[in-house]
Symmetry: C2
Amino acid sequence: MTIIKVSATSRTSAVAGAIAGVVRDTNRAEVQAIGAGAVNQAVKAVAIARGYLEEDGINVVCLPEFTTVEIEDKERTAIRLVVEPR
Amino acid sequence: MTIIKVSATSRTSAVAGAIAGVVRDTNRAEVQAIGAGAVNQAVKAVAIARGYLEEDGINVVCLPEFTTVEIEDKERTAIRLVVEPR
């Protein structure tokens, strides 16, 4: 399972392309973001990816959920956006 | 149509309660946020609302999209999260 990790400085169009590619290949993408700036970029990327995938006739939805990740031995709360066909 | 407007200082649990209430009443909620802090709170609120609605047997998905809003005569790009049953 590929997790697409997004940071506050990620380019939304690049992330959107990655999301669309992973959905086309595996029918499902997981996008992970920690912090407001990263979550914002991730949501914008999902909005753009929805447009890309609509052109292929794929209507995707987004399922936001909380998850815990370990970074440098510390637990951080991340937002995970699962993207999959409706 | 009620639009739930979220700011960077909105309490996520309060917004989640509003989302769940609007979905229960009208089957669909629209959440609007401008800026990274607001989008972050909005996404967290949707994640929490999904849990509330799951308890009622309602499985909702989130459809993020861009929208333009006018604030003090200036056009701003907002993120709109449409929340509706899958």
